[in-house]
């Protein structure tokens, strides 16, 4: 299942639908990096509001996406992790270490705008 990615000014917004298979995640990783390169984006928001589980593979893939995007000089923010999902994740020791997180899309855009306002 392909994840829809929209462009919003200098940023890209990827909205994950409910259940992502491992293959979908790998596809997403590939697609995000290509899009960042293609559109010369400064930042990416990955909205996981609709994800009701986050397992270690998903978490690792998201971390890899953030690292790869950083190598292109862009910033990634994961938004929309639900309270129940966050709780389950920390109990399993899945932490999304090193990745910026925000409450929702609005907060994510706010973060990116601040980051890039200071650098212009």
């Amino acid at each position: 299942m392909e994840v829809p990615v929209l462009k919003q000014g200098p940023f890209l917004i990827a909205t994950v639908q409910a259940a992502l298979t491992d293959d979908d995640l790998v596809q997403l990783r590939k697609a995000m990096v290509e899009r960042v390169v293609g559109s010369r984006s400064l930042g990416v928001i990955i909205d996981v509001t609709a994800m009701d589980i986050m397992d270690s593979f998903a978490s690792r893939t998201l971390r890899e996406i953030a690292q790869m995007i950083r190598l292109r000089g862009a910033e990634t923010v994961i938004v929309g992790i639900q309270p129940e999902v966050a709780f389950a994740m920390v109990q399993l020791g899945i932490t999304l270490e090193g990745v910026v997180t925000a409450l929702d899309l609005e907060e994510g855009l706010d973060y990116l705008n601040h980051r890039f306002k200071s650098s212009t």
Binding site: P83, F87, V90, T101, L103, E107
Partner: protein
């Protein structure tokens, strides 16, 4: 055990057969027993009340109250003996418990008074049938199982009601003791007081995460000044709370760590780089305000 079951069956309390009772059969004996208890109601009830006072039970209640409840219990008792059904008694036991538990009446008092009533009634039966030992024997066959079941029903009803009240109170305490308070836009405070066990820690985390989402909080100050001690399990819960909050985009500042808790955290090897801590609540709020971009300035005196 088998003998008791046999007795119960013989006493006719399990069945309500419409056939005419056999002379001196269990059903007839039961009727005789019940009418004796009804006829002598006044003096038996008084005897019972006297023995309750003598045994220093129900001291939390006034004489009038004891009398009123004693009357109701006596009548219910005889009724249960007569009908062999215990639903009415169960319902009464529950409503009685609801009334007397807030008055501080204890389990041993309730069991005590019911057993005293059983004794008072048994003694009066001994007195009445002392001349005819065989008849007394059969009367007791009818009386004893029922009397024991009554004592059981009342005691269990009382204990169950107590347990229900305790559960209710525990729930209320849990809810009251973990308030998540918004003190500024985007700033929540979670003051924790008292003992944290793993269950409370879990409830706390769930409440906080929901609060972060509802209030769109960016900073949370968790104050543990009021927490005396924390074991490694609970300390880990605290670390998890901090991490889970971060996943929702909120920064957590922990304030008020006692020396003992600081020791625990260091000993269990908590990665202190992950935990933002400040000495006291005031300092924590000040840092939170800085993070949010607030600066608190005094209103200048003598200005316009």
């Amino acid at each position: 055990m088998a003998k008791d079951a046999e007795r119960l069956e013989r006493s006719g309390l399990q069945h309500h057969s419409p056939e005419p009772p056999a002379p001196d059969g269990p059903a007839l004996l039961l009727r005789e027993l019940v009418s004796h208890l009804r006829q002598n109601r006044t003096q038996l009830r008084e005897e019972w009340a006297r023995r309750i006072t003598e045994a220093q039970l129900l001291t939390a209640m006034s004489k009038d109250e004891i009398f009123a409840e004693a009357t109701a219990v006596y009548d219910q008792y005889v009724e249960a003996l007569e009908t062999g059904t215990f639903e009415a008694l169960q319902a009464y036991a529950r409503s009685l418990s609801e009334r007397i538990i807030p008055r501080g009446v204890e389990t041993h008092e309730v069991v005590g008074i019911v057993l005293l009533l059983r004794d008072v009634l048994a003694r009066s039966l001994f007195a009445k049938y002392q001349a005819d030992f065989r008849k007394l024997d059969r009367i007791l066959d009818a009386y004893e199982p029922a009397a024991n079941r009554i004592a059981n029903t009342v005691a269990v009803g009382f204990v169950q009601e107590r347990e229900r009240v305790i559960r209710q109170q525990q729930e209320a305490i849990r809810e009251l003791s973990t308030p998540v308070l918004q003190v500024r836009e985007r700033l929540l405070i979670l003051p924790i007081i008292g003992v944290i066990d793993p269950q409370r820690a879990r409830q706390l985390t769930e409440q906080l995460l929901r609060g972060i989402r509802t209030n769109r909080a960016k900073v949370v100050v968790i104050d543990i000044t009021g927490v005396a001690a924390m074991d490694a399990t609970v300390a880990n819960h605290l670390v998890q709370t901090v991490e889970a909050s971060r996943l929702l985009g909120a920064t957590v500042i922990v304030t008020g760590l006692s020396p003992e808790i600081a020791q625990t955290l260091v000993t269990i090897g908590v990665d202190l780089g992950k935990m933002n801590t400040v000495g006291d609540l005031q300092g924590g709020i000040e840092q939170a305000e800085r993070l949010l971009g607030y600066k608190v300035v005094p209103i200048s005196a003598g200005g316009s």
